[in-house]
């Protein structure tokens, strides 16, 4: 008896498979039709600039330290305006796992992960991105953030206490009240 029951259920499953011919196909035709990626999708890594068009990165090396696969390498240099910047900044995308830890660690919101995963190359060497490839012209996700305008770090044209929520530092060498 059970063999007949099995047969009936198998014929039913053949029928159920058959009527799938008339249902819609689920495949997304990827290269022709672009994929919707959520704004917080962690894809390709970029370096952003602040509103004045200066690069945000201050070469603090925090991202390189936190990166679990160690694919970031950079070297600090100091500009004439007494501002730190990376002399070179290199990410090896063949090792990056797109974890987003570098973005979390960055104090200046310079390094960001954007929704774009189309990173394929024919040669592995081409997956090593230099600063020119990484740096974009805009501010990325955090449009109004400028590290030097929020922190007490001194650069040329901005002394300690210049920010409106700061008080001027006390000069300990003078006797005047």
């Amino acid at each position: 008896m059970s063999i007949i029951k099995t047969l009936v259920s198998q014929i039913r499953s053949i029928w159920l498979t058959f009527i799938n011919i008339f249902s819609k196909r689920e495949t997304i035709m990827y290269p022709e039709k672009s994929v919707y990626l959520a704004p917080r999708y962690r894809g390709r890594v970029i370096l952003s600039r602040n509103l004045n068009g200066e690069e945000r990165c201050v070469a603090c090396n925090l991202c390189a330290a936190v990166c679990p696969v160690g694919c970031i390498s950079l070297k600090k240099s100091i500009s004439k305006t007494n501002r730190w910047y990376p002399k070179f900044f290199r990410i090896n995308f063949s090792r990056c796992i797109f974890c987003g830890l570098c973005e979390e660690a960055c104090p200046t919101a310079a390094i960001q992960l954007i929704p774009d995963f189309e990173l394929s190359e024919y040669k592995r060497q081409d997956l090593v991105y230099e600063k020119e490839d990484l740096l974009i012209s805009g501010p990325g996700k955090y449009s109004d953030y400028d590290f030097y305008q929020f922190s007490g770090v001194e650069i040329e044209g901005k002394k300690k206490g210049n920010l409106d929520y700061e008080s001027n530092p006390i000069d300990v060498k003078t006797l005047l009240p």
Binding site: Q10, S13, T17, F18, R25, E26, T27
Partner: protein
């Protein structure tokens, strides 16, 4: 003569094309697309596959029995292909009109175990051997009623000749009076082609491809195309034996024959898409305890009715 060669080559080409068509149909049944990148809608996929298979390294393992190892895929390719010779495509077009047509088919079907056994044994690989043993046991089981299920048809037509058999179906296609014969022949045909759910010899999960595990390149291709050839042959035989061969209304005989054959080939693919592979002993049980008695009962009743009629 020319026509015979044409039929042979058409069968070959159809079998090759089926490897792509099957993937497309499977895609259709599973709500996806299947190969559609090479050429317009994947039409050139077959060319890409050919290029790939021709340029793959054709490796013969040094631990194998070389002569048999090379011989097995050829035999597998040819054994069922030859059956096309006895299938009547229309009332006056058959390559050889044999009086023992069905027996020829049964002989070739039995021979088709050998390439599997040879391949599995000569590979000198335990998985290949296990696959081959499974294949042999399964084919032996299903061969028994592959023949018996056809005997009802033979009794009705009172001839082993394929053309006589088709002619005996003018009034009523055999699929109605010989319904159980049809069902069991279809199941045995599935097992003969090693198609799902009877793909025990190839089960990738347990035997990592069974008897053709050591084959690569064109030798694997021969096994691969051989499977599609056997699908086409078995479908065309189902058409001839149970679905009135070339009979149909309106359109030409050849059209009806090809249409019915294609329908059964589609059914093979549909079954592949829907049924899981049962356990090995269940397959054997199903063959011996259900299909075999069913064919015998079918044969007895057919004989009984023929006796009453006479």
């Amino acid at each position: 003569m020319i026509e015979s060669i044409l039929v042979l080559f058409l069968t070959l080409i159809c079998a090759t094309i089926m490897s792509v068509v099957e993937r497309r149909i499977l895609g259709l049944l599973q709500n996806r697309y299947g190969p559609n990148r090479v050429g317009w809608q994947g039409t050139l996929q077959i060319v890409a596959d050919m290029i790939k298979i021709l340029f793959k390294e054709d490796w013969i393992p040094m631990f194998s029995r070389k002569a048999i190892f090379v011989f097995a895929p050829m035999l597998s390719f040819v054994s069922l292909l030859l059956v096309i010779a006895i299938v009547p495509i229309s009332s006056n077009f058959v390559i050889i009109n044999l009086d023992i047509g069905i027996l020829f088919f049964l002989m070739m079907a039995s021979l088709s175990i050998y390439p599997v056994l040879f391949a599995g044994w000569s590979s000198n690989n335990k998985y290949a051997l296990l696959g081959a043993i499974r294949a042999t046991a399964q084919t032996l089981t299903y061969e028994v009623f592959l023949g018996l299920s056809l005997m009802g048809v033979v009794v009705r037509a009172q001839s082993f000749n394929m053309i006589d058999i088709v002619n005996s179906q003018i009034l009523l296609w055999n699929c109605i009076p010989q319904f159980f014969g049809f069902i069991t022949f279809f199941i045995a045909g599935l097992a003969l082609c090693h198609r799902h759910p009877f793909d025990q010899p190839e089960s990738e999960q347990e035997l990592s491809d069974g008897y053709h595990i050591e084959y690569s390149g064109m030798k694997f291709g021969l096994f691969f195309i051989g499977e599609y050839i056997s699908i086409i042959i078995v479908s065309s035989l189902i058409t001839t034996m149970f679905f009135g061969g070339w009979f149909g209304f309106g359109l030409s005989a050849i059209f009806w024959f090809i249409f019915k054959t294609m329908f059964f080939a589609f059914l093979f693919i549909l079954i592949r898409a829907s049924l899981p592979r049962p356990r090995y002993d269940k397959i054997m049980l199903f063959g011996w305890k259900f299909c075999f008695p069913l064919t015998l009962i079918n044969l007895i009743f057919t004989a009984f009715f023929m006796l009453c009629k006479a």
